[in-house]
C-alpha cells in the first residue's frame, strides 16, 4: 500500500511533457511468466495450405477475382484489398470458419502452397519514396489489432486539408501479455527507424511522435541508438509513457500525446493526425521495397503454454498449426485459447481458423471460475478507471434497460471496449459485454432507419410513377371518348376497323381475343391499343 503510494507520488513527480499522464486506466503487471521478452522472432514454416478470408475491415464479403484451380503467386490480388500470402494453387473458394467471436464462416480462398521460398523475392519494383498507392497495392493493413486499411488512413488525412500534421507511431503494446512489437523493436530497430522515416517523407508531417512504454528498456535503448544514427526531418520524438493499460488504444493515446479528445464522429484524420502501429510502419517500408504484406509477428503466450515465443506467421496459417509448430498444442483439458489478451481478446472454440492481420496474440490460459454476478452497488470503481471519462455505472443502467437515448447521452459510442471497468467491478458485472451489445443495438437501429428511409423513397417513387401512369391513361381515355363521341355510328366504325385488321382465311377459325405467343401479356402496364382492343366484340 505504502509502496504503491510512493510509486504513484514519484511518477507524478517525474511526470513531464515527456511522459504525459493518462486519467483512468489500469496499471497492469506485465505477465512475466509466459511472456516472451527475449526479442527473438522465430520464422514459422509455411504450412501446406493457407486459407485467406474474403472479408474486409467492415466485415463485408468480397467478390473474389480468382477462381479455383488457378495458380497464383505471392502478392497477387485475390479480391479488393486482399493479396495472396504465398504462391501456390487455389484448391477452392468455400465457406470456412474465421477467427471472430461470432464463430461464423465466410468464403475463404484455400491455397495449396508451393515450396518455392518466395518470402525473399520482391514482387514489385522497389521505390525511392513510399506512395499511398504502393501501400494499397501491397494490401498493408493495421497490425495493431484493428486491421484498418492503412492506405485509406493516409488518404483520409490527406483529403481533409491536404496535409498530415502529426504522425503518431504507436509502439505501445495493446495489452501487457503481448510482446510482438517489442520483439520487432529489439531485433530490427535500425530498419524500423528507416521505415518511420519513409512514412514521414511520404506524409510530409510537421511532427512525428514515437510512443513507447517506459519499461521496455532494451527496445528503448535500441531505438535510441538507431535514432541517433538517422537524420529525419522533422525529428522523431521518442516519448516514454507510463505503462498504463489501455495506452495502446488510439483514442487514449492521441489524447495523452496531443491532448485532443477524439470521438467516433471525429476520427484522427479530421485533426490531421495519423496514428499507425510500428509494425504497420515496418510493413509499409517493406511495401516500398516491393514486398507485399504477407505475414505478421504473433505472440504465443499464456499460463498453459510450454514455450512462450514470438513467431512470424504467414497469413492464412491456421492457429492450430501455429500452436503445433511452436510445440504449444493445448494438452490441458480446461484450457481456453484466446486471440488477443484477457481484456481485448475473445475465445476460440475451433482452432482451425486462419491467422489474419488482426491476430496479434494467441494466449492459452486455464479456465477460471468466475464469481457470481451481484447487482451494482454504485461503488464508482468503474468510473475511476475509465480511460475515456465515461460513467460505466450509468451506462450499465441504461444499456441493460435497452434505453438508447439514455446510453447515448452518457457517451455509449465513445466506449473503446477496453475492459478496465470489468476488471475492477466488485460485483463481477459483465460491463464491457453489455456495452458491446448496446452499441450493436444502436448500429442495428441506425441501419434499420437507413433502410426505412430507402424504403420510403422507393415507395414514393412508385406512387409517383403509378399516379403519372394513371394520369396518362386517364388522358388517353378522355381523348378516345372524345373521338368516339364525334363519330356517327361508333359500332359500325369499330366493326369495320376490326375487319380491316384481320384477314380471315378459310382454314383458320375467327380469332378470339387469345393473344399470340410473341406479344406481351398486359396486366396493369397500360398500353395504347389495349383500350381499343377491349372494345372489340
Amino acid at each position: 500500500m505504502a509502496k504503491t503510494c510512493m510509486k504513484t507520488f514519484l511518477q507524478r513527480l517525474i511526470s513531464s511533457p515527456q511522459t504525459p499522464a493518462l486519467a483512468g486506466g489500469l496499471a497492469l503487471q506485465r505477465n512475466k511468466p509466459g511472456l516472451p521478452v527475449d526479442g527473438v522472432i522465430r520464422i514459422l514454416a509455411v504450412p501446406a495450405t493457407v486459407s485467406i478470408p474474403l472479408t474486409n475491415y467492415k466485415r463485408e464479403i468480397l467478390q473474389p477475382g480468382v477462381h479455383a484451380g488457378q495458380h497464383i503467386k505471392c502478392g497477387d490480388m485475390l479480391a479488393q484489398g486482399i493479396v495472396a500470402s504465398c504462391s501456390g494453387e487455389i484448391i477452392g473458394i468455400e465457406p470456412s470458419r474465421i477467427a471472430h467471436p461470432s464463430e461464423m464462416s465466410v468464403p475463404c480462398v484455400i491455397i495449396k502452397t508451393s515450396n518455392t521460398p518466395d518470402a525473399d523475392t520482391a514482387v514489385h519494383t522497389p521505390l525511392n519514396s513510399l506512395t499511398i498507392d504502393r501501400i494499397e497495392r501491397c494490401a498493408v493493413h493495421g497490425l495493431g489489432g484493428a486491421g484498418f486499411v492503412t492506405a485509406d488512413k493516409f488518404r483520409a488525412s490527406g483529403e481533409i486539408d491536404n496535409t498530415v500534421e502529426t504522425l503518431i507511431i504507436n509502439a505501445v503494446e495493446c495489452e501487457p501479455v503481448i510482446s510482438c512489437d517489442e520483439a520487432l523493436m529489439m531485433s530490427e530497430a535500425a530498419n524500423l527507424v528507416e521505415a518511420i522515416a519513409s512514412v514521414v517523407d511520404m506524409t510530409g508531417c510537421k511532427r512525428c511522435i514515437l510512443a513507447i512504454e517506459n519499461d521496455k528498456h532494451q527496445a528503448i535503448t535500441a531505438l535510441k541508438e538507431a535514432l541517433q544514427r538517422t537524420e529525419v526531418t522533422p525529428l522523431i520524438e521518442l516519448t516514454l509513457l507510463t505503462p498504463i493499460y489501455p495506452s495502446g488504444a488510439e483514442r487514449p493515446l492521441v489524447r495523452r500525446l496531443t491532448g485532443i479528445h477524439l470521438t467516433p464522429g471525429t476520427p484522427p484524420s479530421s485533426h490531421g493526425i495519423v496514428c499507425i502501429n510500428i509494425a504497420t510502419a515496418y510493413a509499409a517500408w517493406q511495401a516500398k521495397l516491393g514486398y507485399p504484406m504477407t505475414s505478421r509477428i504473433v505472440t504465443v503466450a499464456g499460463k498453459h503454454i510450454n514455450q512462450a515465443v514470438n513467431v512470424r506467421v504467414v497469413f492464412g496459417t491456421s492457429i492450430s498449426e501455429v500452436l503445433k509448430q511452436t510445440g504449444n498444442t493445448p494438452t490441458h483439458k480446461d484450457s481456453r485459447v484466446r486471440v488477443g489478451g484477457p481484456l481485448s481478446g475473445f475465445d476460440l472454440s475451433d482452432l482451425n481458423v486462419p491467422v489474419t492481420a488482426t491476430t496479434h496474440c494467441i494466449t492459452v490460459d486455464p479456465v477460471r471460475k468466475q464469481g457470481p454476478v451481484l447487482p451494482c452497488i454504485r461503488c464508482n470503481a468503474c468510473s475511476e478507471v475509465c480511460p475515456v471519462d465515461l460513467l460505466p455505472q450509468q451506462l450499465h443502467w441504461f444499456a441493460t434497460a435497452d434505453d438508447q437515448q439514455g446510453s447515448l447521452r452518457f457517451g455509449l459510442m465513445d466506449c473503446i471496449e477496453c475492459g478496465c471497468c470489468d476488471a475492477v467491478c466488485p460485483s463481477n458485472i459483465a460491463l464491457t459485454q453489455t456495452f458491446r451489445y448496446a452499441k450493436g443495438l444502436h448500429r442495428e437501429v441506425q441501419t434499420a432507419n437507413l433502410a426505412a428511409t430507402e424504403s420510403e423513397n422507393r415507395y414514393r417513387c412508385r406512387e409517383q410513377r403509378e399516379t403519372e401512369r394513371a394520369a396518362i391513361r386517364e388522358q388517353k381515355r378522355e381523348a378516345a371518348r372524345a373521338r368516339l363521341s364525334e363519330r356517327a355510328d361508333p359500332i359500325a366504325d369499330a366493326l369495320s376497323r376490326v375487319r380491316g385488321k384481320r384477314k380471315p382465311s378459310p382454314d383458320q377459325p375467327a380469332k378470339t381475343s387469345e393473344p399470340s405467343p410473341g406479344s406481351s401479356m398486359r396486366v396493369n402496364q397500360s398500353d395504347d391499343d389495349e383500350n381499343d382492343r377491349n372494345q372489340s366484340p
Binding site: T55, K58, R59, E60, I61, H100, P101, S102, M104, V106, Q405, L408, R409, A430, Q433, T434, R436, Y437, K439, G440, L441, R443, E444, T447, A448, N449, A451, A452, T453, E454, S455, E456, R458, Y459, C461, R462, E463, S520, M521, V523, N524
Partner: protein
C-alpha cells in the same frame, strides 16, 4: 423569537437550495433525439404556419414508422397512417412491424397512452424477407405490381426475384401469386450484421 428566526432561516436555506438546483438542471439545448423535426418559424400567414406545423408533425410521425408499407394498419402505406394519426387521432397501436417499441415512441412524442399492440391488426414478427422459388415461378408479374417498394425485379414470362436488402417483409406479394412460390424467411444474419449478444 430566535426559534422563529431559525425556522425562517432554515426554510429560506432549503428554498434557496431547491431553486438553485432546479435552475441549474433546466433542460439544456442538446437533443439527442434524431427524430425530432426542427421547427423553424418562417411563416407568412397563420394558416400557412399551422399547415406547416401539421406537416412537420406528420413528417415526424412518419419518420418513426418502420416504412414497410404493408398496409396492415388499415391505411395504404405508412404516410397515410401518419396523416391519420395526426389529423384524425387514430389509435397509435395499429402497426405490427413497429411493435411495442414504436407505440412507446409515439406515446412519448404525442403525449398519449402507450397501449399494447392491437392484435386485430396483426402480430409483431421478427425481421423477415420474401424469397421466390424461381423453379416454380411462372413469370406472371402479379407480385411485381403488388410490391409497394419495387423490391421485385422481373418481367413477363421472365424470372422474378426479390432484392433482399430492399424487401421490407410486408407480405403483400404473397396473396397475388397464383402458384404460391413466395416464402417468408427470417432475415439471415451475415457477418456484417452480427452483433454481440446481451449478457445474461
Amino acid at each position: 423569537m430566535s426559534t422563529g428566526l431559525a425556522v425562517l432561516l432554515f426554510i429560506t436555506l432549503i428554498a434557496f437550495i431547491g431553486m438553485a438546483l432546479s435552475w441549474l438542471s433546466r433542460p439544456s439545448g442538446d437533443n439527442n433525439d434524431q427524430d425530432t423535426a426542427s421547427t423553424d418559424d418562417v411563416g407568412t400567414s397563420s394558416n400557412g404556419e399551422s399547415t406547416r406545423n401539421i406537416d412537420q408533425l406528420i413528417e415526424t410521425v412518419n419518420e418513426k414508422l418502420p416504412q414497410t408499407q404493408c398496409a396492415q394498419c388499415g391505411y395504404p402505406g405508412c404516410r397515410p397512417y401518419a396523416t391519420a394519426i395526426i389529423n384524425e387521432d387514430v389509435a397509435i397501436n395499429q402497426c405490427p412491424p413497429g411493435g411495442d417499441a414504436l407505440i412507446r415512441e409515439l406515446a412519448t412524442f404525442l403525449g398519449k397512452e402507450a397501449l399494447p399492440l392491437n392484435s386485430a391488426f396483426g402480430e409483431n414478427k421478427p425481421a423477415q424477407i420474401a424469397i421466390i422459388d424461381e423453379a416454380v415461378c411462372i413469370g406472371c408479374t402479379l407480385c411485381i405490381a403488388a410490391c409497394p417498394v419495387d423490391a421485385i425485379v422481373g418481367a413477363s414470362r421472365l424470372m422474378h426475384t426479390v432484392i433482399s436488402n430492399q424487401c421490407t417483409g410486408c407480405e403483400l406479394c404473397l396473396p397475388p401469386c397464383p402458384v404460391d412460390c413466395i416464402d417468408l424467411i427470417e432475415q439471415p444474419v451475415t457477418l456484417s450484421r452480427w452483433q454481440w449478444p446481451k449478457p445474461a
